[in-house]
């Protein structure tokens, strides 16, 4: 099965008027498989939006190439099967329902189906009550929801969303999260760029972290969150003071230790007459991983 989105050694350099060069992406390669929710992370200026704009054909790579749903970046007809939400939503000042219909129509949708589909998508994003309101009077969060509606109106195979929930309230965020999970169930692929790490952690099947134009982390979210370096041991029948840093709750003692200390610690618990309940790799948060890889030198740590 061909990837839904693929970057092959893509480099993008920006040149200033005075000839100064800035490399936003450096030999960047990535494959997004169909039917997955892919999280795209990175600090500001990492090159995430540049990568997305290259994929959408808004700019050309300095070198390298890429494919969107099997066709080269910039292939206009392919974008009929793609839904895109930009980071800063900018829309023409019209009625929300007219606007969604406009974007559907320029994407080649038939007028007969469009009215119904526009109403459905506005309802999906929780804007059916404001469908007749002009977007010029909408709040930033409402604009973002109209932006999401126009991205969904053509029932796309691939959704590329750049910070889709950055302006939304917690309730609306939950709504968008459910919408994206439903979209994956329906067989769609979602490429999601976000700074909201908890959201990425909850939603994404795989995650990539970009830092200074380089891919520094890539893997399944579940595997990344499992730390291979630290484990947590839970035991009973011993005193917590036996192990430095251990915590006891209702007679259950738990301690997180480096993997290298696993065997001596277990031996020590057994020697003290204790019973091991569990030995599990310690789960890290995505935030910890993010901070770790973006504060390091940027060496690639690709697992999958």
């Amino acid at each position: 099965m061909q990837p839904a989105l693929e970057f092959q050694g893509v480099t993008k350099e920006y040149k200033s008027l005075f000839g100064r060069r800035f490399c936003a992406l450096d030999n960047f390669s990535l494959q997004v498989e169909p039917h997955e929710i892919f999280g795209f992370l990175g600090p500001n200026g990492a090159g995430k939006t540049t990568a997305i704009h290259l994929a959408m054909g808004f700019m050309r790579p300095t070198s390298g190439s890429g494919r969107l749903l099997g066709n080269p970046f910039g292939h206009a007809a392919t974008r009929r099967r793609v839904g895109f939400l930009p980071e800063n939503v900018a829309l023409y000042p019209r009625r929300a329902d007219h606007l969604v219909r406009f974007y559907g129509a320029i994407n080649g949708m038939k007028t007969s189906a469009l009215k119904k589909r526009a109403s459905e998508t506005l309802e999906l994003v929780g804007l059916s009550d404001q469908a007749r309101g002009s977007v010029s009077r909408f709040s930033r969060g409402m604009l973002q929801r109209v932006g999401l509606a126009q991205a969904l109106v053509n029932d796309p195979e691939l959704l590329i969303l750049d910070e889709p929930t950055s302006a939304l309230d917690p309730l609306a965020r939950v709504g968008v999260r459910e919408l994206l999970l439903k979209a994956r169930e329906d067989g769609k692929t979602i490429f999601l760029s976000s700074h909201l790490l908890s959201e990425i952690e909850l939603l994404c099947d795989r995650v990539a972290v970009l830092h200074r134009g380089h891919l520094v982390e890539l893997g399944k979210t579940s595997e990344l969150l499992q730390s291979n370096e630290r484990i947590e041991i839970t035991a009973r029948g011993i005193d917590a003071s036996l192990l430095n840093g251990a915590v006891a709750v209702n007679g259950i003692v738990s301690i997180a230790i480096p993997r290298s200390q696993q065997r001596p610690t277990i031996t020590r618990i057994w020697d003290a007459g204790g019973e091991i309940i569990s030995v599990v790799p310690q789960r890290r948060s995505l935030e910890e991983i993010f901070l770790e890889v973006t504060s390091s030198s940027g060496k690639e740590r690709i697992t999958h």
Binding site: R60, P86, Y92
Partner: protein, 237 residues
Amino acid sequence: MKAVVLIAVSFVREQRWPILVMLLWVLLLAFLGLTTEAARQGEDLLFVFKQVAVYVVAFSVFFGSSAIYNDRRSRRILSVLAKAVSRELYLSGLVLGITIASAIYCFALGLTGSWTLGEAGFPIRQVWFLMLCLLAACSLAGTLALMFSTFLNPFFAAGATAAVMGLPFMLSYTSGNPKWGLAVPVYALAAAVLRSSFDSPFSGSWLPIFLAVIETLVFWFIAARIFSYIDIAVSVE
């Protein structure tokens, strides 16, 4: 084709205020025809008509030079080009939009001119032919400005357009050969309007109109080639 029409209509809608301001000039002509003695002073009325007519060429240059810039600055272009709209189609929509905006003005001026100048004895058929000349000039001037605006900011794009439009006139003036005026026939078409009079017989030539249509297509093609290499997501400021 549907996308082209929708982009064109969207452009006209976005430019509704400048178009309304343009139409105020037509109202001025109607006002003169209604309320002053000008109705009986045909030459004065024709003078006002000519002045009001050629303004639309300048407006079409401003429309053309600022269309892409406005969409890029507001980042609205991203939502449009994220759909199945190629850059050629997008530019076609803008060219059609500029032509529609100019056509609205030309039609309103043609109606008012037919009425007011017709009353004074000017041949109505000639009024509509002059409006056609004007529309062809506007499409060409707007497309030329659009082409320059793919890589220049609106100010320089308008300046470059004025230079390219004015060069054939300069050449025909200095060389004494009027055929130079047909190289980029915006001036030739505007001159047809400016030189019209009650005395001269109707001698409309279709050649400048034909050339203007062909050159509009050529400049659209060049604009599309240049625009396909432009990073549209890069800030224009």
